[in-house]
Symmetry: C2
């Protein structure tokens, strides 16, 4: 198939089209909250989706969308905050030739979801499964037992070479796989009973922005812009 050409910032930016073209994926980092935002796009149709955007880095993300000549369809949260589009287990969010399958993965919050690319090559696990870790379960109606079952039933059942992209990382790691986490994750290799015991005794400090984030989540993700 012939290449596409599109205009970016007044210049021609050629694109390799073709149905065999891999998906466009960009991972972006916000250091204050250690959040990863993901931009996923179809190189052919230029339709794109943003997963786990952060308010403070929205201008950066919007600029990249513009520069790459993409058309943003949705900006979705995996963490339970949903603004415009309400999604349920099994819903499919289409962008161009691709789609994200929604898998409910509660436990960190009741509303957490994991987005899985339709070919099962990558999963965006939000706060449920982190690289060698997992989201805390001691606030926002969290439940360790529920999280354990979510991860084992909804994520660890994906193909072993499925890439795992979490919403946060605190050690500078960027990606893992379904092969690694059931083997190397120090928490999720425990029995469910041991896991619940560990999670119930973490004694973590209260997150810095929780007094802003929880009420905003309760209002379906609608926040006031930072002053």
């Amino acid at each position: 198939m012939a290449g596409l050409a599109l205009r970016v910032a007044g210049r021609q930016l050629s694109q390799r089209g073709g149905s065999g073209a891999p998906i466009l994926l960009r991972q972006m980092f916000e250091p204050e909250s250690c959040t990863y935002t993901y931009l996923l796009g179809d190189r052919e149709s230029r339709e794109a989706i943003l997963i786990d955007p952060v308010l403070e880095t929205a201008p950066r993300d919007a600029q990249l969308v513009r520069e790459l000549g993409l058309r943003l369809l949705y900006a979705g949260q995996s963490g339970g905050a949903q603004a415009d589009l309400h999604i349920d287990e099994g819903d499919s969010i289409r962008f161009g030739r691709f789609a994200l399958e929604t898998r409910a993965s509660p436990g960190h919050t009741p509303g957490c979801v994991t987005f899985v690319l339709n070919d099962h090559s990558m999963a965006f696990t939000g706060d449920a499964l982190l690289i060698r870790g997992c989201g805390r379960t001691d606030f926002q109606q969290g439940c360790a037992k529920t999280l354990y079952h979510s991860v084992h039933e909804k994520i660890f059942t994906l193909p072993s070479d499925c890439l795992i992209y979490p919403a946060h990382d605190y050690h500078g790691l960027t990606v893992s796989t379904v092969e690694e986490e059931p083997t190397l994750n120090p928490r999720l290799t425990l029995s469910c009973e041991e896991f619940v015991k560990v999670m119930d005794n973490l004694n973590l400090p209260k997150p810095k922005q929780i007094d802003i984030a929880v009420p905003a989540n309760m209002r379906c993700g609608v926040q006031s812009p930072p002053s």
Copy 2:
């Protein structure tokens, strides 16, 4: 080809072998210096190379190498500090079925190199080319004109879909391409003359760790461990 199996942390971790298997690539971030370290491995032979490691995160990197069942051959710096193995323009650093081609890309320092994967699908540009930016040229025998020619002749001549992985990013971006940078990089889309003028008038503050880094580079990268 049948899959390999290797033992990681006392458990079996199966590996998809086969000559068609993609290279293993992990990007890791160090927030103090905003440095990216890259782990590249051959999934079949398990031979691996580390590019731009940071002293403070060496334990993390070593743990990942161990966990993935890799055997580290070299830990290479693109920034001009070379400890054990001295490399020159055109040298090829083999690991398993892959190799990194060395391209001299001076200008930030006289010793900077860009490592290019032998299939030209990815380039590790060190401090020469950053995403929408470039390394400063106002210390360590830097030269803006030299940097301009390095980037245009050694990096922008790679295939347009070649991924660009820099040694640093200060905005949370993780990767770019040879398609994007010659079009969207605000510095390197200038003429050489304009570029030199911009670089000579940046008036940047002195980097925090420069008094440690420069003498260490002069001693070929041999540093005292942090106290």
